[in-house]
Structure formats: C-alpha cells, structure tokens
C-alpha cells in the first residue's frame, strides 16, 4: 500500500510553500510523489495562456476528453499555481483544508 499522509506531515507544508521546486526533504518528496503519481484522467496540469506571464489550471482527461481549462483559476506565477494544486491535493487526500 502506498504511503498515506500522516498528521505529523503537516509540518512539511510550509517547506513546500516556501520552496515549491527543487531540494526537498525526503518527507516532503514522499508526499509530492504520492500527490503526483495519479492517473492522467482527472490530473491537474497548467496551461500557459500568456507566455511567461499567465497560466491557468486545467484538468487532463487522459485523451478521452479535451483538456478542460479552469478559466477561474488564473495565476501570474507558476509557484502560485503549485501552491494552489498542493492545497487541492492535500484536501483530496486528507480532507483537511490548508490556508
């Protein structure tokens, strides 16, 4: 069975928020791999709508459906988008809202 997020992992949330890319602690990487290793159907992706300036959240349909762009989820940085998706996935896996 794959790793399930534990209550003590809450302390890793700030690490991600401060640095969504790159050198992460083993504990955080384990959570990220858990979040990222999901089927393509329903997986979050980003769509670049203005080069280097604007991105929108989108949902992959495993090529059975068009990529669904969520036009109300607009970001001016990719880091902002990473944090938004992290929160959505955390909620989906734990039921807990992150602020």
């Amino acid at each position: 069975m794959r790793y399930q997020i534990q209550p003590e992992d809450r302390m890793l949330v700030d690490e991600f928020r401060q640095n969504p890319y790159g050198r992460h602690s083993p504990g955080l990487l384990r959570i990220l791999n858990r979040m990222r290793c999901v089927p393509l159907d329903g997986k979050y992706v980003l769509v670049c709508t203005k080069p280097f300036r604007e991105w929108k959240l989108a949902i992959h349909g495993d090529r059975q459906r068009p990529i669904e762009i969520l036009h109300d989820h607009v970001f001016t940085s990719r880091e902002e988008a990473e944090w938004a998706v992290f929160k959505l996935r955390w909620k989906a896996l734990t039921g807990e809202e992150l602020n």
Binding site: K43, L46, K50, R78
Partner: protein, 737 residues
C-alpha cells in the same frame, strides 16, 4: 488553438538550392510569409528575449491558405493485376498478430471493396465476399498469432471464414469457422491493400501481418497451413496467384511476391519492418541471419512518415546568404500566445564542397530533433510530473498536439497499441522544434529543450562572441562524413546531441583524431545508435534495446535496425561508450531545477590555465535561464573504465542537485537505495578537457543546462567566460603541448 502550421521538405539547404514550405491554414485563412534568421528563441523576459532578423526574399508576401489534412496509418499497396480480376474461386490468407483487436474494424487484406478479410466489431475476424458478410464471434487475443483466411468456391457459392489460433488455451474460445452462401466479388481494377481498405485508406490495422497468400481456388480448411510452407506443395502451384515474403526487401519500402507474377507492392507511412514473424522461435535474434523468422510487418493506425502536404512557396537560398539557423515565418494574425503564427526552422549550410570556411561550425543535432519530434510523454505519460518535479505545463502547441494525434509520434512514444515508435520523420510539422516554444521537460525558468535551447548557443556566438561560424547538421554529417568536418578547426555541439549513426560517430572520431577540436557544451550525447534509411531522406530509426533510459523497450529479437541490419541500442552497448569520445558520458537525469559546479584540483593544472583565465572563485554557473543553474536536466561524468582517456582533466564538477535528479539505470545492476542527487556521488556533471596527439581536443561540460547560463547578466558571467576562453583557445591553431 493553433491556426496554421507548416514544415519544409528538408532541414538543411545550401546556397543555390531550393527549400519548399508546406503550410496548412486550418480555416483557409490568408497568411503572410517571410524568411527570418533566428538569433535567440527564448522569450523568457529574464534573458535577451526573442530575436530574429528578416531576410528580404522573393517569397515575402501574402498567400491564400488552405487546410491540408494529415492521414496517419500505414498500409501495403499492390497495384491491380489481371490475375485479380480473373479470380473466381479463391483463398485469401495471412498470419496476423492483432494488438488492438477490440478497437473495431481493422482490415487485414482487402482486394477492392468486395473482398475483405478484417477484424470486426466483435473482436473476431470478419470477411466480406461480394455483398455477403461473415463474422466470427470468437474474440481474438491480442499479441497472439492467428491464421486468418477467407475462401470462396464459385461453383457452390460457398464462402468460409477461418480464424485459427497458433496456440490455443483452455477456456479461450478464439477459434472459429463460419460459412455462408455468397456471390463472387467484383474485382475489376481492384488493388490489393494490406492492413487497410478503401481509397482513401480507412480501417487501419494495429498489429503484425506475415505471409499473405492469394490462391485461385477454395482450399479446404484442413490444408490452409500448407500455404505457409516453402516450397509450396506442387499441387497448389497451378493456383497460386501471390505469396508475399515480407522478409525480402526489409531495408526498403517495397514488398515482394515470390509467386508466379512477382507482384511488387509498396508500403505507405512506414510500418515497422524486421519484425518477428509467426514462426520466430528465439533461436536467432537477428533478422538478416534468419529472414524466414522475420516475415512480419507491424502496421499501426498512427504511423506517419510523410504528411504529404502540397508546397505553398519555395525559397531559393541566395549564393551570398550566410550559413545559419533560419525559419520561414508564416502568420495570419498577431495573437500574443503565438497561435496565429508558425516559424518553420531550417539550416543554411555552406555550399557543398566549399572548403574555404570559417574555423568554427555549429553542429545542429537534427537527428535528436527528429527523435524528439512531437514527443508526447507529457500528454500520455503519468510519470511526467514526478520526473520534472512540478506541474506539467502545456503551451498552445501541446494542446494542439493533444487534440491531433495524426501529427505523429516521437521515438519516445508508444503507438496506440503499446508498441514502441522506432521510426521518426521530419516530413510533418514538428511542434516542439520551434523558437519561442517552452517544453514541459526543460526545467524551471525558460523550460527549453533541444532546438530552442540550442539557439542559446548560436545567439551567444553571434551576439556576444561576434565570431564567424557555419551551421552544419547531423544529416549532412551522416551523408558526407569526415569531409564535412575537415574544413573546421572547432565544432561546437548543441545542448543534447543524443542520436548518432555509425557514419556520424566514425566521422567525429576521425576528425578529433586528426586534430579537430570539439566543444561538447551538452550532456547525454552520443548515446543511442540510430540508422538512416537507404532510400528515404529525413527519417531515422532507433531500437531501444538492452538498457538505457527507455520510454519503451524493443521486444526480444527486434534489436536490429531494419534500415541497416545493425545492432541497435546504446553506443555504450556497442563497445563505444560516450566517455571514449567525449571524456564523459550519461550519468544522471532529472528535470526540475539546476545546480552549479565547483572547481576541481585539475582546474589548476597548467594545461587548463586557458579555461579559467579571468575566472574568479570556486563556484561556476549558480545562475541561468534553465532551472537557475548551469548544471542540470541531464548530466555526464567521467568513467575511466568506460573509456575516459587517462589524461583527461576534470576541471569542475556539479553538486547539490535535487533528489529529482537520479542515477541513470545503465549505471547500476542491483537497484541501490541511494540513487538520488543528495545521496549518490555519481549524480554530477564533470567538466573535462583532453587533447589528442594530433593537436585535437575535447572540452565537455556534461550538462544540458550549461548554455542556458551563457546570456545571464548581459553575457558577463563565468559560464560565458569559460566557454569563451575555450572557444578562443580552440580557434588558436597553436598546439596544446
């Protein structure tokens, strides 16, 4: 959504020659066109920004666009022969290995519209004789061989469909025989199609076909296997119309009939050849040593060799046009997201045979561009986000590719039936080989990969170094060998020259040994062996054999190139590891952020003094447009046991990589638990230098990201300094010792 797209009939063109451009404007819009010289393709506002200059030419102007569709899917075609029309009774037979039997109708053999042997909607075989349809209810098992046959006896009007598995399983009722009364088909003018039916082609097959046979009598079901025996039984010979041997002409796109008419057919859209046939036993792993075991062709409904678009305009390269990287710029609007324009790249090489050239050449890794052409691992691969350590980002071109699978696949993809894509062609729009394009794969920051990343190099040569250079391509090197390199004292590579034919490899080795000086500002180079086709330009083959970073694995027994017969796979597995040529070889990969180098003791060796002239400090490249550092994406390092020359200087090594960067799999046998960047000592790039007895040399950086740091801080940085020092010294003819 993209509104227009194009491609050229070639990548590389010399002064005086003509290059043709083919454009599809999907709504038939009018579009404008011009020729531009590409200077910098990276639109990242943290760098120099996108730059091109317009080259005045006769093609400049407005054109009426048209929608030019792409029809993917491979097939075989045998033109009509009078013997087809003369058929009254017949037996149509083939061995078939379906890979997607549940996909719906897929033709196996079709003689006109009236005589078709196919896979039907019920996953079993189906046959049509005239207006009669016969259908098997027994589902075919995927990736199993079947004898498939359709017979018709004109005297009795009896048609019979036979589906017979080569191996049966208890509880798997996949054999069937169905009969019905039929009227003979009309075969006047019928051509024989293999793996498709109709005109235009439809109902393409995913799967292998071996040994198609056509007999002018209704053979009894008990005797069908006799048609697979060579020589054919004497009593069958008088009725034989055609017997195809797909093992003949494997290196070509022709198919051969060993029957009495010696029919000649052709293959369309390049199905895979040198494939194991129904009788492959494993006793021989090489197709040309036992061709009778390799009588299959693997057809795919998503094979694409040539989009076949018509030409919209042709550009004659002026005699005085400088060698460089160019594009045909076509546009029908000015949308900020780039969806109303296309920039179709091409390379102006020096005039053929002209040996009075600048001392420097940029070798554009066009084989690698072809290998990655329309890569879909971000569209189809579940692991993409983990491998890049961040959300997968789609550009408009990626969404278009997602929605248009007919644009064809890269050598990194699998066909829809799960089999690996072993051929890739440039005769189609290549959406990820464009200036301004950011790739899902190319690290944080600019996110460049391959072609657009390589413009970092040519920009630096032109905008900062102001040095004269030629542009030559992999295809030129394959075609002309050592003679192409001989005029140059220095060759600088692209960022990721991964794919090389034997002739390319031999030419580079010979040139270095004769005094050539190679600047390998790259990583994961000279990795896969490829083959070019004998007869078709612009198509390459790879067989992902044995090991290496493989997004698919060649099936056992299918490790030899169909184009050449050579054993495919990693150059390392051919006894030619990259370390032997470059000093370093592929060691680690990961696509999130990039890191920096630290100078090593060898950097203080007098032989390396020129490299660090004017460079302060120990840390190199802790900045850049690609991932924020000069060391990343893919990394190469020395291994003396793999051929790093003993006198190689390790000038600097990278460190502090993230744990997304991990050791590559050919570097370990038993899986160790310390593969990650923070744990394994070999997850690093080595910057190296070695010289040769003839005055040649190789400088290697061991990182794909290196060139993304060249322009940082207005080109005033230690990556630019080191690269410039090496280039100036390499251009200086003085020997190294």
């Amino acid at each position: 959504m993209l509104e227009l797209l194009g491609y050229a009939d070639r990548f590389s063109v010399a002064p005086g020659e003509v290059i043709e451009f083919k454009v599809s404007a999907f709504e038939g819009q009018r579009f404008r066109a011009e020729i531009v010289r590409l200077i910098h393709g990276d639109a990242n506002p943290d760098g120099p920004g996108y730059k091109h200059v317009v080259v005045p030419s006769a093609i400049e102007g407005e054109y009426q666009g048209r929608n030019q569709p792409i029809e993917a899917g491979s097939s075989g075609v045998v033109p009509h022969h009078p013997a087809f029309a003369a058929l009254e009774s017949f037996t149509l037979l083939a061995m078939v290995w379906p890979t997607t039997p549940a996909k719906g109708r897929q033709a196996i053999l079709a003689l006109g519209e009236d005589l078709v042997l196919a896979i039907g909607e019920k996953c079993g075989l189906t046959g049509r004789v005239g207006s009669t349809t016969l259908e098997s209810d027994a589902p075919l098992l995927k990736r199993h061989w079947y004898l498939a046959a359709l017979t018709f006896d004109a005297a009795s009007g009896r048609a019979t469909l036979i589906q017979r598995p080569l191996h049966g399983y208890p509880g798997a009722p996949d054999a069937a025989m169905v009969s019905a009364t039929a009227k003979g088909p009309g075969l006047a003018d019928a051509e024989l199609l293999i793996a498709a039916e109709g005109n235009p082609r439809r109902n393409h097959l995913n799967g292998k076909i071996d040994s198609p046979r056509l007999l002018a009598c209704a053979l009894s079901p008990e005797r069908l296997e006799a048609l697979l025996v060579r020589p054919l039984a004497a009593d069958l010979l008088p009725d034989l119309v055609a017997a195809f041997d797909f093992a003949e002409g494997t290196r070509t796109t022709r198919i051969h009939d060993v029957g009495p008419h010696k029919l000649e057919g052709r293959l369309e859209q390049m199905p895979a050849r040198a494939m194991k046939g129904w009788c492959w036993s494993g006793e021989e792993m090489c197709w040309w040593r036992k061709p009778e075991h390799y009588g299959a062709i693997h057809f795919h409904a998503d094979d694409l060799h040539d989009a076949g678009w018509s030409t919209d305009f042709a550009f004659t390269v002026p005699d005085d046009l400088r060698s460089g990287v160019y594009a045909a710029h076509v546009w029908c609007g000015d949308a900020e997201d780039g969806t109303q324009e296309d920039l179709i790249p091409f390379f102006v090489r020096p005039r053929r045979g002209d040996r009075n050239r600048p001392k420097l050449a940029f070798l554009a890794p066009t084989a690698a561009y072809m290998a990655y052409a329309n890569d879909q691992n971000h569209i189809r691969g579940e692991a993409a986000e983990m491998v890049i350590g961040r959300l997968v980002t789609y550009q408009p071109a990626d969404i278009f590719l997602h929605d248009h699978p007919e644009l064809g696949l890269s050598l990194y993809d699998r066909h829809a039936d799960g089999s690996g894509v072993c051929y890739s062609s440039r005769h189609r729009p290549i959406l990820n080989m464009r200036p301004k394009y950011s790739s899902w794969l190319g690290a944080t920051g600019s996110g460049l990969w391959q072609f657009n990343a390589d413009l970092h190099i040519t920009d630096w040569l032109e905008s900062y170094m102001e040095v004269e250079f030629d542009v030559i391509t992999d295809e030129d090197l394959h075609a002309e060998g050592l003679a192409l390199l001989e005029p140059y004292q220095v060759v600088i590579t692209g960022t990721h020259p991964e794919y090389h034919s034997t002739r390319m490899w031999d030419a580079m080795r010979a040139w270095i040994d004769r005094g050539g000086r190679l600047m390998y500002v790259a990583a994961n180079g000279w990795y896969w062996r490829i083959a070019f086709h004998d007869e078709l330009d612009g198509v390459i083959e790879v067989r992902r054999a044995e090991d290496g970073i493989r997004t698919w694995e060649a099936d056992p027994g299918e490790y030899h190139h169909s184009f050449t017969g050579e054993y495919g796979g990693l150059w390392r597995r051919q006894g030619r590891p990259p370390q032997a040529l470059l000093g370093i070889g592929f060691m680690a990969q990961g696509f999130d952020i990039c890191s920096y180098y630290r100078r090593q003791p060898d950097s203080h060796d007098p032989r390396a003094a020129f490299v660090f002239d004017g460079v302060d400090g120990e840390i190199i490249g802790d900045f850049g447009l690609i991932g924020g550092g000069a060391a990343g994406l893919e990394l190469d390092a020395v291994r003396h046991d793999l051929g790093t020359p003993p006198h190689t200087l390790v000038l600097a090594s990278s460190e502090a990589h993230s744990d997304i960067i991990m050791l590559v799999n050919e570097e370990f046998g038993v899986v160790p638990p310390n593969l990650k960047g923070s744990e394994h000592p070999n997850v690093r790039a080595d910057m190296t230098f070695y010289d040769t007895a003839a005055g040649g040399a190789v400088f290697a950086t061991g990182s794909i990201a290196w060139c993304g740091s060249l322009s940082w801080n207005g080109y005033d940085n230690n990556v630019s300094k080191i690269t410039g020092n090496v280039l100036r010294r390499f251009l200086d003819p003085a020997p190294f010792r």
